[in-house]
Amino acid sequence: MKINFSPVLTSQNYGINFVTVEDGTFSKKVKPFSGTAAFAKDYLVERCDALPKDPLCNESLEQLKCSNTALKVVANSSDEPLIIKSHLDTTNNQMVGRLELVLNEDTKRDIIVLFESETPAYLNNFLHIVCKNGSTSNITILNDLAGCENYQTIEVETNENAMCNINIVDFCDSRSIIKSTTNLVGENSQAHIKMMYFVSNDGLLDINLSNNLLAKNCNTTINAVGAAANNAVKNFRGTIDFKQGSTKSFGSENELCLMLSQKAKVKALPMLLCHEEDVEGSHSTATGKIDTKALFYLMSRGLSKTDATKLIVKAKFNKILQDVNPEIQNHIINKIDRKLEENE
């Protein structure tokens, strides 16, 4: 079954337009799930009715209609981050979830959406984020899922003068398929998607990020930094799409992938689509190994190869990590350290 299609297709021979998963992946009946909870003050919980307009595939949409957890959180301003945590374990090991986050007008809020599991599990989740006029949000999505099948659809809508920063962190060692569609529908709105990934073992990480500029004076960026280790496969599809009417808008997309293994395979399709004259768009991608000169320099200063490697990799990740909520920064850094040690 082909899922997670690129918004614009290119030659089938390149093997990047979509990812193939086993037939019936989304047709399994799932058990009840009771592992999601929200922690904070100044929020409301309502019934979630949202369904993705642009799902991974129709079958994943059908499964989401029968989700076993659905939560709508309306966030108000607070200095305290709102944490929504979904914990999967041996008993709660199948989650088909719908989560809707609404940032009220002029709200400022940090939000952490955490998916965690230390045992193999199945996750198909739809996260819908609505940023109302003038809201400012910094949303971190952490996929800390060991040995899991992880399918995520994220849809973001930014309205007038809203600013939404989304930081996605994924440690994939089995399968992570992520589709994010951001529609900048309001004038002067901003959406900045940052993604940090570490794909290892025989993991397959398939990322499909699309930012659509639909109004004047919008500003959007996609920044992805990651590492591929062992026999991992990483596919990155990123799209900045200037629609007609998005005058005076700015869009930029960058991806950097460090290859930590000779057997890893990485593909990237960074697209820049432009149907408007008065805009400024750019994209760049780079793939390479760890800079041997930097490694030599650090080792000449007394660091072991492992420590020097850790330092270089974390330096690359830092531009993403610095925007991740401090509450989970250390957890992510420790996780990167452990992953690099395993890679040795």
């Binding site: 614009v8 297709l9 290119t10 030659s11 089938q12 390149y14 093997g15 990047i16 337009n17 200037f242 007609q244 005058t247 992938c257 290859m259 930590l260 293994s261 000779q262 890893a264 395979k265 990485v266 593909k267 990237a268 399709l269 960074p270 697209m271 820049l272 689509l273 432009c274 149907h275 408007e276 004259e277 008065d278 805009v279 400024e280 768009g281 750019s282 994209h283 760049s284 991608t285 780079a286 793939t287 390479g288 190994k289």
Partner: protein, 466 residues
């Protein structure tokens, strides 16, 4: 600041047409009978007919691409795949029928030959009508002739290489090409021979509702050097014409080939051309490509860096105006150690034109210590147009460096302001910026062709900006 306005200028120099006068024109459509008839008329050996028939079978099996421009208006039943002009190939311009000679005179080919070319081939519809090469090159063993003569006179050499670079099953239109190919040039440059002056083949399609399917096969042997220039044009008709040529380039150890193209098809042409080079150890191919004209172009030259230290560079520009969809780009496969590639692509779109840069960079596991750098810029001259960048990067080794960057936007207002502060009018400032945008391509062409390319840009721009 006023919006950039561009108008179409007259393209009479390319759009003039001769009467549709021929000695034979195949009926529209594609069938076994037509393919066998083409082969019979060319008095081909059986192995070539077998390739044609296999290609026809492949064409019928393959479907149209599911990506890229919409090709639904192409009706093969209305396309004549073979138009034989009323002359055979000559080696003196005086012997070419005056009407056809006048066509090439207007395009400046005989004059160019006198001044700065080592050899010329001129194709009119489906057949090459003129071919010549300087005598000293013949003595050095250089072969430059039309493909039909090559099949007859150098069968072993042609058979060794034909279809080996671009296989007939690669896509539907290359299968079509192999089924009905006609004309084109064959070049063999022996080991160590360096050509100081370029060879040029010019392809002119005059007949309406027809296709041109020329096959160019170039072998540059060890340590040899060649600059080959390809030019194409056609007059404008109301119905679509089709160009599905094929270029196969073999560059041996330590050899160098510069392949320059200015494709200036009329705006009723579907240009579905395929070009590929296989480059061996220490070899290098430089592609210089200017895509002007055509209604739809799908053109992605490709380099396969097969040998260690092989290199390739691509410098290309496309200019998409009203009702044009130019889907172009470059493909490179790094298949050996220490290979390198540099890609520099520019596109300009105006009046609703669609310019797409579609590309592939593939670095295989064995291509350790390889480097690839890609840069592509799109210039949008109005909001009716589109400029898309769709690059695929596939890296299968950790020991390689790859980078890609692209930009899209309009003419910089700051740059216009700066030039105007230096005394230029706004119109001149904008025109200068557009020409400057195209300069990475024009400076890679021989002077005379850079002038030709700038003239083409002027045709699209001059007196119309402001």
């Amino acid at each position: 600041m006023a919006k950039t306005q561009l108008e179409e200028l007259n393209r009479n120099i390319y759009d003039f047409k001769n009467p549709d006068d021929y000695s034979f024109k195949a009926k529209g459509g594609l069938s076994r009978e037509i393919v066998e008839d083409i082969s019979r008329r060319k008095n081909e050996p059986k192995w070539m007919l077998d390739i044609r028939l296999k290609a026809l079978e492949t064409y019928n099996k393959l479907s149209l691409p599911t990506w890229g421009p919409d090709l639904s208006e192409l009706n093969m039943d209305e396309i004549s795949t073979y138009v034989q002009p009323k002359t055979e190939m000559k080696d003196k311009w005086e012997d070419v029928p005056s009407e056809i000679k006048n066509t090439f005179d207007k395009l400046g080919i005989p004059e160019a030959e006198k001044q700065y070319l080592a050899g010329v081939g001129a194709q009119y519809d489906s057949e090459v009508v003129y071919h010549s090469i300087k005598a000293d090159l013949l003595k050095k063993g250089v072969i430059y002739t039309d493909m039909e003569s090559a099949v007859r006179e150098y069968p072993d050499l042609v058979r060794e290489y034909f279809t080996k670079c671009v296989p007939l099953f690669e896509h539907k239109f290359i299968a079509l090409h192999y089924a009905v190919w006609s004309g084109g040039s064959f070049v063999y440059v022996p080991s160590g021979v360096e050509l100081d002056q370029p060879l040029q083949s010019y392809f002119r399609l005059n007949s309406p509702e027809s296709g041109q399917f020329e096959h160019t096969l170039i072998i540059v042997d060890k340590g040899a050097k060649l600059h080959f220039i390809e030019g194409c044009s056609a007059p404008k008709y109301n119905k679509v014409n089709l160009h599905a040529g094929c270029v196969e380039l073999f560059v041996k150890e330590g050899a160098y080939l510069r392949y320059s193209t200015i494709e200036n098809w009329s705006k009723n042409m579907l240009n579905l051309n395929t070009k590929k080079a296989i480059i061996e150890k220490n070899g290098k191919v430089d592609w210089v490509s200017g895509s002007f004209g055509s209604k739809i172009s799908m053109l992605y030259p490709m380099s396969i860096l097969k040998g260690e230290n092989a290199k390739t560079e691509y410098t290309g520009i496309s200019f998409a105006g009203a009702n044009q969809n130019l889907d172009t780009g470059f493909k490179v496969v790094h298949a050996a150690k220490n290979t390198s590639s540099v890609v520099n692509s520019r596109s300009i779109s105006k009046n609703g034109g669609i310019a797409t840069y579609r590309a592939l960079v593939k670095i295989l596991p064995e291509a350790t210590n390889s480097k690839c750098s890609v840069s592509c810029d799109g210039l949008m001259l109005d909001s009716l147009s589109k400029s898309d960048t769709i690059p695929v990067n596939d890296v299968q080794t950790s020991d390689a460096e790859f980078s890609h960057e692209a930009k899209v936007g309009k003419i910089s207002e700051k740059a216009i302001f700066y030039l105007m502060s230096r005394g230029l009018s706004e119109d001149d400032a904008k025109a200068m910026i557009v020409r400057g945008f195209a300069s990475p391509v024009s400076k890679e062409l021989p002077l005379e062709y850079a002038v030709e390319m700038n003239r083409l840009i002027n045709l699209e721009l001059e007196g119309a900006i402001g």
